[in-house]
Symmetry: C2
Subunit: 371 residues, 2 copies
C-alpha cells in the first residue's frame, strides 16, 4: 500500500552523490496548487526562473531555461541540438560522466575523439592544446565536477584554450552549479547544463541549460531538424521566451515551483556565501576523515567540496557500512561507480546538505560503525 | 520575488486540456522527504508504481514504467526505441497529436505514411484496412483521445485490423488513460504511453509507458543503438526491473511519489467507477451547454468525456471569455489548437476535475459571462 510506503518515509540525511537534502521552502513550493502551463501567473514564474538561473549560472544568455527532465536530459539536450551527422566532437574524459558524453554524442552520429585522463586526476590543459592544434572540432566538451571521482576539471583554463579554435565549448555543470563558482560567460562556455538535485537543493526532475548566442546561431543554422522532438530547443524557446508563448509540451509545473524556490534560497544567501559554506564544510569533513585515518584519492588542489571520494579501508565491507549508515543512522552516502566500485565511498556535501552539523553527524556515525 | 508569485497561487479549477485538478493526497505525496534513487525504500515504491500502472493500463507487460519526462517524452520514447532509419510507419492522423507523431517519427528517419481524417471525426477503420492490405508497416500508430479535437478513435477496432499484419501497434493514451477504458492487452496494443496531468490527476512531469514482449523483442533486435541515451529503454529497464537496479539517470523522486499516490486513488475508487464518473459528468456538461444554446462539433458517439470541444458562438471573443473565467472565477478552460484556434473552446473533465459541482460551477460562470 502506498499509504504505508510513502507515509513511512522519514527525513534522510542525503550525503551521497545526489539527490541532496531539500530545504522546507522547496517542499512547500512543490506542493503549491497546480495551475495551467499557459496561465499568465505561470508565465511570470517562468520569467522569474529564467532570471534567477541567469544569475546562478553567471550568464546573460537569453536561452537559459530548465529542461523537462533530469540532469542527463540536460546532457542529451546539449548534444542533440548541436550535433549533426559526422560532426567532430572532442571529449575530455576522466570519469563516468565524460564516458556518458561519448556515448550520447556517438549515438547522434558525431565523430568523437577522446582524450582520456586518469580517473581522479584533472584534465591536463597542455594535452588539450596539443590536440586542438592538430585537428579542428565543432564541439569540445568536459565535465566540470566529475561526480564519479570527486575531481574538479579546470574549466576556465580549458575554455581559454578552446576559444581561439572557434569550437563550441560545452560544459557539464550538474554537480558544480551552486557549489563552486560556475562563470558561464567569463569562461567562454557556449553550452552548459546542470541538474536540480545536487547543489541546487531541489528534488531531481529538471535540467537547467544555457546556450550562448553563438551556440544558438549554430542551432539555427542546422542542415537537419533536431532528431529529438521533445528536446528541440528551437521549439522550446518559443514557449519559454516567445512573445506568443506557443505551447510545445506541458511544462512540469510543480517541479518548476520547486526550482524557483530553490534558486531564490541560493540567491538570498548569496553565491559567495554559498560557495564559502561548501568549502568550509568540505574542510571540516576532510579533517575529520583524516583524523580517523581515512584517506582521499583525489589530490587536495583538485578536490570537489561537494563530492568527496574516500578510500574504503582494507578489509571493510563497503556496502555493509552504507547499509548500516542508512538503516541505523538515516544517512545516505554513495558507492563507487564503474572501475571505482567497491574501492571508494562518495560523500556528498551538496547544497542544503553542506552544513557543519551534518558533517559531524556523519563522522560520529562512521566512527561507531568502523571502530 | 518568488515568495509573492508562489505564495499568491490559489487553487484553480482546471477545466482545460490538462493539467487537471490534483487531489490533496497527491499534493501530500509530492512533498514527502526526498530519499535516494537507490534506497531500498525507493525501490519498493518503484515496484508499487509498476504494479499499479499495470492495473490502470490493463496489461501484464513487464516493461511498464513511468518515463522521466512529460507526456510528449512518452511519445518520443515510443518511437525512438523502435524506429530505425528507413522503417515504414503508418500514422492515422486526425488532430495535433497525430501530426506530432508524424514529426517525431520523421525526425528519427522513419518512412512515414499518413492517412488523414477530418479533424473532429474518428479514424475510419475500413480505410485503414485498405492501406494495410496495400503495404507492410513496422509500426501503425494512432492517438486514442485527440486532445486537440475531443474525438475518440476506435482503438480496439484498429488493433484488430493491425494484428494480422504483424505490425507493432502504437497508441497514444495521454488523455484517455484513467478516464475511459484503455485495455492494452485485450486490444493488442504493443506500445502505449500516457501523461500524468490528465485523468491520472497528478502534476505534469512523468510519462507512463508500456511495451509488449513483442515490442521488447523488436527493441532488443535493433541493428543500431537507440539514438537517444536518456530515453533508451534497454538501459532504463535495468534500473526499473533489473536484479542489480543499475543506475541510469537519477529518477525524479518526488514526482514518482505523486504518481504512486495518484494511481492508488484511482485503484481505490475502482476503474469502472472512475470511468462512470467521467461519463456522468460529461453528460451533465453537455446537457448544460446545450441548454445554453451552445453546440459541440464532435458527433455524440465519438465524443471524449474528458475533453469537450465547444463551438465559440458567433461574435464572441473567445480569448476574453477564457480570461474572465480565469480572473473572475478561478476556472481555466482551453483554447483551440492549430486549425481550430479561435473556433472552439476545450473543456476538460479529467480525473479529479470530473465532478458534478465543478460542471455546475463552470456552467454558472459561463452563463454570467455570455448572457
Amino acid at each position: 500500500m502506498s499509504i504505508n510506503l510513502l507515509d513511512s518515509l522519514t527525513e534522510t540525511l542525503l550525503m551521497g552523490p545526489g539527490p541532496a537534502c531539500v530545504p522546507p521552502a522547496v517542499y512547500q513550493a512543490i506542493a503549491k496548487p497546480t495551475i495551467g502551463h499557459l496561465d499568465p501567473r505561470f508565465i511570470a514564474i517562468m520569467d522569474e526562473i529564467k532570471a534567477r538561473l541567469q544569475q546562478v549560472m553567471q550568464t546573460r544568455n537569453r536561452l537559459t531555461l530548465p529542461i523537462s527532465g533530469t540532469g542527463s536530459a540536460g546532457m542529451e539536450t546539449a548534444f542533440v541540438n548541436l550535433v549533426e551527422h559526422g560532426d567532430r566532437v572532442l571529449i575530455l574524459k576522466n570519469g563516468v560522466f565524460g564516458m556518458r558524453m561519448v556515448d550520447v554524442a556517438q549515438r547522434l552520429g558525431a565523430e568523437v575523439d577522446v582524450i582520456e585522463f586518469e580517473w581522479g586526476t584533472p584534465v591536463d590543459v597542455e594535452k588539450v592544446k596539443v590536440q586542438l592544434a592538430s585537428r579542428s572540432y565543432k564541439i569540445v566538451a568536459v565535465v566540470h565536477a566529475e561526480t564519479s571521482t570527486g575531481a574538479m576539471n579546470p574549466v576556465a583554463e580549458i575554455g581559454a584554450a578552446v576559444k581561439p579554435t572557434g569550437a563550441l565549448y560545452l560544459v557539464d555543470a550538474v554537480t558544480s552549479l551552486g557549489g563552486i563558482p560556475v562563470e558561464t560567460d567569463a569562461w567562454g562556455i557556449d553550452v552548459i547544463y546542470s541538474g536540480t538535485q545536487k547543489c541546487l537543493s531541489c528534488p531531481p526532475g529538471l535540467a537547467p541549460v544555457s546556450f550562448s548566442d553563438r551556440a544558438v546561431e549554430t542551432l539555427r543554422a542546422r542542415r537537419t531538424k533536431v532528431p529529438n522532438w521533445y528536446l528541440d530547443l528551437t521549439m522550446i524557446v518559443d514557449y519559454w521566451q516567445g512573445a506568443k508563448r506557443a505551447y510545445h509540451h506541458t511544462a512540469p509545473i510543480n517541479m518548476l515551483y520547486a526550482i524557483d524556490a530553490a534558486l531564490e534560497a541560493i540567491l538570498e544567501e548569496g553565491l559567495e556565501a554559498v560557495f564559502a559554506r561548501h568549502a568550509e564544510t568540505h574542510r571540516r569533513l576532510v579533517a575529520g576523515l583524516e583524523a580517523m585515518g581515512l584517506s582521499m584519492p583525489v589530490a587536495p588542489a583538485s578536490r570537489l567540496p561537494m563530492l568527496n571520494a574516500v578510500r574504503v579501508p582494507e578489509g571493510v565491507d563497503e556496502a555493509a557500512v552504507r547499509s548500516r549508515l542508512l538503516k541505523e543512522f538515516d544517512i545516505e552516502i554513495g558507492a563507487g561507480l564503474g572501475p571505482l566500485a567497491g574501492k571508494i565511498w562518495r560523500i556528498g556535501l551538496m547544497g542544503h546538505t553542506a552544513r557543519a552539523q551534518n558533517v559531524d553527524r556523519l563522522l560520529d556515525a562512521l566512527k561507531k560503525i568502523l571502530f
